[in-house]
């Protein structure tokens, strides 16, 4: 690590800048060491962290293998594949939600929330927990106290909301994001394809939940993406689902609809589907089986690779449609592609390899571990960003066109898909009514003609335009897609030079204020949780004391002096008034007052017990 410049102003300069592959199924980190990127792993470990989160009763999170182990015993509170929910609305993820055992809802701005125990979590927070664990594990393995920052990868086809959600997740994990880069681009970097000279390369990346195809031109160390296409809801999870549906269909006559939707059953079938899929990579047939001890369910059947391939063929065909699209956009034919790189665990499926080879007419590269290649590329990019090397440069593109809704509901495209980023466009607008001080905008991303058929990135209102006759105001709005692929919007009123304000309420996302608030809440959360439990305990105690006192007070009244009697009454009254107070100090004080006030009563009662015993009465008759 002798390349890092010493920066006296920045005391994190000596800390490592890592690359993180935040995957649907697995996540891992890598670091540039000794002239090449290497996976960060503690000795004896793989470094691979399953992207699974389980929330315990007390709100304590488990992440990784330990969380996955909870899948069958605590399915309602165990979340797999949270990446598929990032920056999405409920309608987008309906197919995923249908087979999830936990409860998923949506806020009015379309932000998905997952209920685990009695708290709702956003996908950003859950991904943040995975990133936090990656951060902690990396620091431990590297023996450092912190990180300078990280390059985090996302599918190339991720839209603005999904990229922003990833950035917000990093904030929850306390990670400084050096850059968000695209997974296929990172993979091409890891392969060091620039060392082979100039050429055109296709990266086919089929992960657990997403598919990307990127066509790159490599020249003089510059990796320039020419076109990208994909599907952010297509991956190995969908291969699993094919098998899950098969099992559920065959079990339909043995189980009730409720049993088929049972969380424990769903997790069990999901795990055995995954097992069968993996086995079929090497074996021509395998045993697809399930045992759920709780219900006494035993089921098994043999599945051949041929049958599995028939069932997933249409899914694989969808990836090839995207390949055709990307080739068409790049203006190239399959014959002009010199190298093909396979990335993502799902490219281990033999059918996928066969179809890709048939399509491009060439044997794809599979030398590097498809699970590690993305993190390795991210680490190489991190090395560039901290100034370690200028030999390589990534020039990526925006995967989707950006536009504004016009008056008729159509889309006016501002930035075409596959434009090299960073890119910006300035667009002029004016007012249509006298003294109009605001203009409404609806920003969409996608390729369809109608605004309503595309994805809404946000709506914003431009305010603060000085009052003037219609058509006189000249407002310039600047849309800028930065090197992370994230959109920012700025506006200026030209005739007066005043800067107009913009508030963008992101769809399926969090505002900066919301992230800040949630971060604050999580700092205070631990203490709050503790306090809340203590208040609840104290209130229960007050209730017990009240009932006991009220029951005995009448009988004991004649043994108590007036002052003591009145104090008991007042203390009980204070107990009744405490109602829904959550103030720990206040509740504690009331509880202590009741205890102190009723001490004399307790003494009298004890005395009565003694007398009763002498009189031969039974205790319960007192």
């Amino acid at each position: 690590m002798g390349y890092v410049e010493l920066n006296v102003l920045n005391n994190t300069a000596h800390l490592p800048a890592i690359g993180i592959d935040l995957g649907t199924t697995n996540s891992l980190a890598a670091l540039w060491q000794d002239g090449r990127p290497q996976v960060i792993r503690a000795s004896g470990e793989t470094g691979i962290l399953p992207s699974v989160v389980n929330i315990r009763d007390e709100g304590e999170p488990l992440v990784g293998r330990v969380a996955r182990d909870q899948a069958v015993v605590d399915p309602e509170n165990t979340v797999f594949s949270v990446k598929r929910f990032m920056g999405r609305g409920l309608a987008d993820v309906a197919i995923d939600v249908a087979t999830q055992p936990y409860h998923v809802s949506e806020t009015e701005r379309g932000l998905v929330q997952i209920k685990l125990h009695d708290r709702k979590y956003t996908p950003q927070e859950l991904s943040g927990l995975i990133l936090l664990k990656i951060r902690q594990d990396s620091c431990r393995a590297l023996g450092v106290e912190g990180l300078r920052g990280a390059v985090i990868t996302v599918p190339a086809y991720f839209d603005d909301a999904q990229r922003q959600a990833t950035r917000d997740a990093a904030r929850f994990a306390g990670i400084e994001v050096l850059r968000i880069i695209n997974e296929p681009t990172a993979a091409s970097l890891a392969y060091g394809l620039d060392q082979r000279g100039e050429g055109k390369v296709a990266v086919y990346d089929l992960g657990g939940g997403t598919f990307d195809i990127s066509i790159l031109s490599i020249e003089e160390g510059v990796f320039q993406v020419l076109a990208t296409a994909g599907d952010t809801q297509l991956g190995g999870d969908d291969f699993d689902r094919v098998l899950i549906d098969l099992a559920r269909a065959e079990l339909a006559d043995r189980m009730s609809p409720q049993e088929l939707a049972d969380p424990g059953f769903l997790q069990a079938v999901r795990l055995s589907a995954e097992r069968a899929k993996i086995a079929l990579t090497h074996d021509p047939e395998t045993d697809f089986h399930m045992i759920v001890p709780e219900t006494g369910l035993r089921w098994h059947r043999t599945i051949t690779r041929e049958e599995f391939e028939q069932r997933i063929d249409s899914l694989v065909a969808r990836t090839l449609d995207a390949c055709r699209q990307a080739l068409s956009d790049s203006g190239l034919s399959t014959g002009e592609i010199e190298e093909i790189v396979l990335v993502g665990g799902s490219t281990r499926v033999p059918l996928v390899r066969r179809r890709v080879e048939e399509f491009f007419g060439k044997k794809p590269h599979t030398e590097l571990n498809p699970d590690e290649v993305v993190a390795l590329g991210a680490a190489a990019q991190a090395q560039v960003l901290v100034g370690g090397t200028r030999d390589i440069l990534l020039m990526d593109v925006t995967p989707l066109s950006l536009g504004l809704e016009t008056v008729g509901g159509a889309v006016a495209k501002l930035i075409e898909r596959n434009s090299t980023i960073p890119c910006s466009v300035n667009e002029g607008f004016t007012t249509y009514a006298d003294n109009q001080t605001g203009i409404d905008f609806h920003i969409v991303q996608g390729e369809r003609e109608l605004a309503s058929d595309n994805r809404t990135l946000g709506r914003f209102k431009l305010t603060g335009i000085p009052p003037m006759p219609a058509g006189m105001a000249r407002v310039t709005v600047r849309f800028h897609i930065d090197a992370n692929g994230v959109l920012t919007v700025a506006a200026r009123e030209e005739s007066t030079g005043s800067r107009a304000e913009i508030e963008v309420a992101p769809m399926h996302g969090l505002t900066d204020d919301e992230v800040e608030e949630m971060l604050q809440a999580s700092y205070e959360h631990a203490k709050e949780d503790f306090d809340a439990r203590r208040v609840a305990d104290l209130k229960a105690e007050i209730g017990t004391m009240q009932r006991a006192t009220e029951k005995n007070l009448e009988a004991a009244e004649r043994h108590l002096d007036k002052e003591t009697y009145e104090e008991i009454g007042e203390a009980l009254e204070a107990g009744r008034r405490i109602g829904s107070s959550t103030d720990l100090a206040e509740v504690q004080a009331v509880r202590d007052r009741i205890e102190a006030a009723t001490l004399p009563l307790a003494a009298v009662l004890m005395n009565d017990v003694a007398k009763a015993a002498v009189a031969g009465k039974k205790l319960e008759e007192i």
């Binding site: 300069a13 003089e220 320039q224 055709r324 434009s419 090299t420």
Partner: protein
Amino acid sequence: MSTCPSCGVELETPLGCAACGALLELGADATPFEILGLPIGYDVDPTDLRKRLLRFSRLVHPDFYATADEALRSRAESGSAALNSAHEIVADDARRADWLLRALEGPSETDERQMPQEFLMEVLEWNEALEEARESAPGSGARSALTPLEETLNAERASVLAEVARSLSPTPAPGAPALTETRKRLNALRYLDRTLAEMRALRLEQAANR
């Protein structure tokens, strides 16, 4: 060509200085040609243009300023964005011609909406064939008739583009009456590009429905 304010060396691009590495503030009125260090004109060598994009990207790309202060980072973002959009305009024959036409105060596409006369009859024919293909089922005869049509349109595009190139090089005088004819040809070019894009989409759709 101006010189670098920090080291005095002659600049190839106003974006920055290759000699001393200074990242410069780009003026709001810099033209795409100026940004790419090229003289204004229709004739451009695509290989040279591409080398310029890569060379200048190495000067201004935000990746090389990731740990710099906010002001420098944002200068790299906007400089890089300006370079990319300049390249997009200059690298695309139709967009480069359109930019020149505007710079030469020729008619815009709203001032002059016509296409060349000889072109119109053919457009009617092509539209009909395309309409038929659009409404027919994938795999039908009308769909397979698209391939020869696409070839015809591509040949037509090449000939229209050649006429545009002839009319713009050498660069005509600003406001020259001949610019109206060039605009009409650009309108034809736009029609051809839109139609060809739709044919590509239909072809992809057909492959997807296989």
